[in-house]
């Protein structure tokens, strides 16, 4: 019970910190709208109004909804950015602020320190998905039914353990190596290039496709596209959900193990307060 209260307090604290930076929420309005819009324009340039080019796109992606395809992919990029910059750097941020030692001295479970900020960052991610959904409906006339929206939300919620397990694992790595920026760029770069954010993974070389199929975001993007753009039912995606759910469990366990290792390493070396 005490841990639950500590968990809620950690989430509330994180939310209060996020609210202090309104540019973050403005950014969550600006980037999810504009970044994919640039690629929609680029796609128009690549299509050039040529029906053969559009046909090639439809054959490779399974949809003619270019805007929907790109907005879903880039919202995954934004979500990943929220996870890596938010949860992924949270321990490092506490370290830089000088509050990490104080946190470790509380009797709260270490899981609270590791996963406490998750709820606040999920709220930011849901806001971003809402912005994207409204842009698709009102800006690009995508016909989204309430049922497909609910299905997409379900896919997003099912993906939470995998994404935030990854974020927590990343947070331990950042704490260990005391470097956030380069690690975020590296990890986000790998996911951007392999998970099919702006393209279908069929255009990747075979080795890259094999790697892509081991990464949970590949399935999450494909499943959101499937339910939103192709009207696929949830039951048809059960195998994907099992992979994403299983990855979530593995990543969360790995994150806890890595966190314990990093904590021991930092305490032995007296590095908790160093940065």
């Amino acid at each position: 019970m005490n841990d639950l209260r500590a968990f809620l307090a950690a989430s509330w604290k994180e939310w209060r910190v996020l609210r202090r930076y309104p540019t973050l929420l403005i950014g969550m309005l600006f980037w999810p709208l504009l970044l994919p819009a640039v690629y929609v324009l680029q796609a128009q340039g690549f299509a050039g109004g040529d029906p053969r080019a559009m046909g090639a796109f439809a054959a490779r992606t399974g949809t003619t909804q270019v805007a929907g395809f790109l907005y879903v992919g880039w919202s995954m990029y934004m979500w990943l950015s929220i996870v890596l910059w938010g949860l992924g750097t949270s321990l490092r941020t506490e370290q830089v602020r000088g509050s990490l030692e104080a946190l470790f001295l509380t009797p709260a479970s270490r899981l609270v320190i590791l996963f406490g900020p998750v709820a606040a960052h999920i709220a930011v991610a849901l806001w971003m998905f809402l912005v994207v959904g409204l842009a698709l409906v009102f800006g690009f006339r995508l016909s989204l039914t309430p049922l497909s929206a609910v299905r997409a939300l379900a896919v997003i919620l099912l993906a939470v353990p995998a994404l935030y397990g990854l974020g927590a694992l990343f947070a331990s790595a950042v704490l260990r190596f005391r470097e956030a920026n380069s690690l975020v760029q590296l990890v986000r770069g790998v996911f951007t290039l392999l998970c099919g954010m702006t393209f279908p993974i069929v255009v990747l070389p075979e080795w890259a496709r094999t790697v892509a199929m081991t990464l949970p975001p590949t399935y999450i993007i494909a499943d959101i596209r499937a339910v939103l753009l192709a009207g696929v039912r949830m039951t048809e995606l059960v195998s994907d959900f099992m992979i994403v759910g299983g990855s979530g469990i593995v990543l969360c366990v790995l994150a806890v193990v890595a966190f314990r290792y990093v904590e021991g390493y930092a305490r032995r070396g007296g590095m908790l307060a160093q940065y």
Partner: protein, 273 residues
């Protein structure tokens, strides 16, 4: 002469600081590659018909998708250099508390901008050329040597960019928390100049905005020379537009920067952040 020596010293200082962070330096090539170029090439490959970019060819006159994008990346490296390398260092100086001590030296404040410009343009030139080489070696981009004839256009756009960097520097000094501002304006400026897509696909209102940006013309002339794309306007007109924009933006930017600096000194808020 003393101001030029000071500008050179500031540039050397910037380069030495950059040299201390080699990982950050690799970002000059790695970041545009993974954030824009590779996703764009992979998106473009989704539209290929028989390995040819027929759609791009019908809009621009070239089917060399990699060439189109990598020449855009060269221009983008100067835009991001102007915004992040020239204007943003003032924010970093504010944060580290060295802005006021720097400005208390006999060096004129606008010389600091010039110093940052030299360092930033050197890094951008190296990064942009490396990206062009990556495009040619790994992605089969083919640039015609005639593109060198468009070098004056690039130089004129760089002069305009210094004027714009003065404006952005003034904004950074005023806003203080300028990360989001610099991030969004640099992004809008570069995509508005057509680094990622042909200007022809823009709606008319946005096309007008694009035609007010100097990099649009320089990039258009570079692509026309290197890849044989159809220029937006006759080249002479584009050169005239570039010269006019350089003639306006540099003195205007300098004037705004001096006014802002004076205002901050009067209010005593120069070093606040």
């Amino acid at each position: 002469m003393a101001e030029l020596r000071a500008a050179w010293a500031i540039a050397l200082k910037d380069l030495r600081v950059l040299g201390r962070y080699p990982l950050q330096l690799t970002g000059v090539v790695w970041l545009p590659l993974y954030q824009f170029l590779l996703p764009s090439i992979l998106l473009g490959s989704t539209f290929l018909v028989g390995e040819r970019a027929v759609g791009l060819q019908s809009v621009t006159g070239t089917a060399d998708m990699a060439g189109f994008l990598f020449v855009g990346a060269l221009a983008a490296s100067f835009v991001f250099g102007a915004f992040w390398g020239i204007a943003f260092p003032f924010k970093l100086e504010m944060d580290s508390g060295t802005l006021e001590s720097g400005w208390l030296t006999p060096t004129r404040p606008e010389t600091f901008v010039l110093g940052h410009t030299i360092a930033s343009y050197l890094v951008s030139t190296a990064g942009g050329l490396l990206l062009l080489a990556v495009g040619a070696v790994l992605f089969g981009a083919r640039y015609v040597a005639a593109s060198a004839a468009a070098a004056p256009a690039l130089v004129l756009s760089l002069v305009s960019l210094i004027g714009i960097a003065y404006l952005i520097s003034a904004a950074v000094l005023l806003i203080k928390e300028a990360n989001f501002f610099v991030d969004t304006t640099s992004f809008l400026f570069s995509v508005g100049s057509g680094v990622l897509f042909p200007i022809a696909v823009l709606p008319t209102a946005l096309k007008v905005v694009a035609l007010a940006l100097p990099v649009t013309y320089a990039l258009d002339l570079l692509r026309a020379g290197a890849l044989g794309t159809h220029p937006l306007l006759p080249p002479l007109w584009e050169y005239l537009a570039l010269a006019a924009l350089a003639g306006i933006s540099l003195p205007f930017g300098l004037w705004v920067f001096r006014r802002t600096e004076h205002r901050l000194r009067v209010r005593g808020t120069l070093g606040q952040h």
